[in-house]
Homo-oligomer: 325 residues x 2
């Protein structure tokens, strides 16, 4: 790409996302100058999407822009944080204005929804790859960690995991689903909705939290490991959407819910004495979360059905890495 092409690209991102008064210098200088919130801790995460690995080649550019920001926002939701600023590193094989315009629109729409300003970036020439770095704030010492769970805590998950994995399969032509269901499942993969409002509110109730990006079973296992304990999930309680059941049947739906990736839901634990308050203040039917298990002392993450431990051959992202490559 020539210099003028880089300049062209920069123009697409100079006005991306919201304007914020805490941005003193945004896109256009060597670095951004930002005013962190007094009394808050800064929360920072970075995530990369690689073409052919995290999304199929030829994915809708608006979806790639949306997802690049969404996966980072989801990390902040899992900390109970509120996002402020993002930086975008975009590697492109060539300059396609229509593609750029749609990518920027997808990124910007989600940035607007969550009050995020794009404050910096870098555009380079190479195989398609998008890295977003997100910055936000959380009140001092109130950030939710993976490591706060204790045996006896109850385990919850938001939404209906597994949809996105099925949506990816629909997108790739590996799965047929009824029209309406296919649209729903595809949207769950292409335009995941990070649980920002729930994450912030969970600061008052949850003992630990993680975002479900690599598969519920694997991710809850990471939470348990970070907390020095284990978890026991109830197969029957794993929430699954009607669309997913219609597309793949009950058993495969539950398997996808446990091992599929790209959900960007929140999995969190709550001390038993706080569950009543949680369910009263944040009614599960309104906030869309389900009780799925309990934290135990013995390490590992197991799924129980009728008193038996169920075996799963996959417990995370690996599965979908191979199906995409």
């Amino acid at each position: 790409m020539g210099l003028s092409e880089f300049a062209l690209i920069d123009r697409y991102f100079r006005k991306c996302g919201v304007r914020r008064t805490d941005v003193r210098v945004g896109v256009g200088d060597d670095a951004a100058l930002l005013e962190p919130q007094a009394g808050g801790e800064l929360v920072a995460a970075i995530d990369t999407l690689v073409a052919g690995v995290h999304f199929p080649h030829g994915s809708p550019p608006a979806s790639i822009g949306h997802r690049a920001l969404a996966v980072n926002l989801s990390d902040l939701a899992a900390m109970g944080a509120r996002p402020s600023w993002a930086l975008l590193a975009l590697t492109l094989p060539n300059v396609d204005e229509a593609w750029l315009s749609e990518f920027a629109a997808g990124f910007s729409a989600l940035a607007y929804a969550h009050d995020v300003a794009l404050v910096g970036g870098d555009t380079t020439s190479g195989p398609l790859c998008v890295t977003v770095q997100i910055l936000g704030h959380v009140p001092r010492s109130e950030g939710l960690l993976r490591s706060g769970a204790r045996p006896g805590d109850l385990v919850f998950v938001s939404g209906t995991p597994g949809d996105a994995a099925a949506g990816l399969a629909v997108e790739q032509g590996r799965l047929n689903a009824p029209d309406e269901g296919a649209t729903y499942l595809r949207k769950r993969f292409l335009f995941p909705a990070p649980r920002m409002a729930l994450g912030e509110r969970l600061r008052s109730y949850a003992s630990a939290c993680i975002d479900v990006s690599d598969g519920l079973l694997g991710d809850v296992g990471k939470l348990a490991q970070a907390s020095g304990c284990g978890v026991e999930l109830s197969y029957a309680e794993v929430p699954i959407s009607d669309a997913l059941v219609q597309a793949v049947g009950d058993a495969r739906a539950r398997e996808l819910a446990l091992t599929g990736g790209d959900d960007y839901e929140l999995c969190f634990t709550v001390r038993p004495q706080n569950v009543g308050r949680l369910q009263q203040d944040l009614p599960p039917e309104r906030w869309g979360y389900s009780l799925i298990g309990v934290v135990r002392e013995a390490p590992g993450a197991v799924v129980m059905s009728g008193g038996n431990v169920m075996e799963f051959s996959h417990c995370g992202y690996d599965h979908f890495a191979s199906s995409l490559s």
Copy 2:
């Protein structure tokens, strides 16, 4: 890559860089929790290095790790900022422990030198690509911008630009240089030294600053444009190293100094009335910078030699993008 391979990689980066007391949660949770400095502005930059574009395929991994951090540090130096934390997004085609170990060592050595903690990251599978995001601080309203130059300000550059471009050519076998010179030039490309100490000190003297990454002439042009003016550089005053002159001769050395990339030097402007104080407090021979021109009203960046305007066919990174691809 399988999950266990990602875990392996994570291990290399869990203890990378220094430990800092302002890191409450570093690598290992969904996001990092950091304590920003009271009374300071946060400074944030992001930069990507793509294999085959920003460094030759097969480059020493320690150099790739060093450069990925150095190019970001240099952005902070140009703002007059002091670095605190970095996040690393690493895309790898395969897992090679020897490569990873050297990459991490290169990154970590530079992080130690500048008191930077690695607080988060993401490792993905794909074509080799490294994105680093750097965070630092600058006292409120003291950050150096590109836009502060005024006609009459004097223009300076640190070090001897052009060395890195020649070093890359040596590295690629496109240029032969005497042994000692070759070693020096290669090092200037492979292990650039970002001008952190100079950048911080320049806050008290400079009216504008930019880091020279895409070629001096192009970058000083960006500074001038951001300031709404132009610059006139003196061909004879452009600093060039003895090694560069020995390798390519005087004329080609000056051309490389003006149009070569990857220097990571600082180009800055100073009001005439502050030049005496600058040169007294920061002696040029000790701090290694040179007076190369003046800011003027007419837009553009021109190079003058004996009263004539010199023409250059390249003025920035473009040149080296094509020579690498």
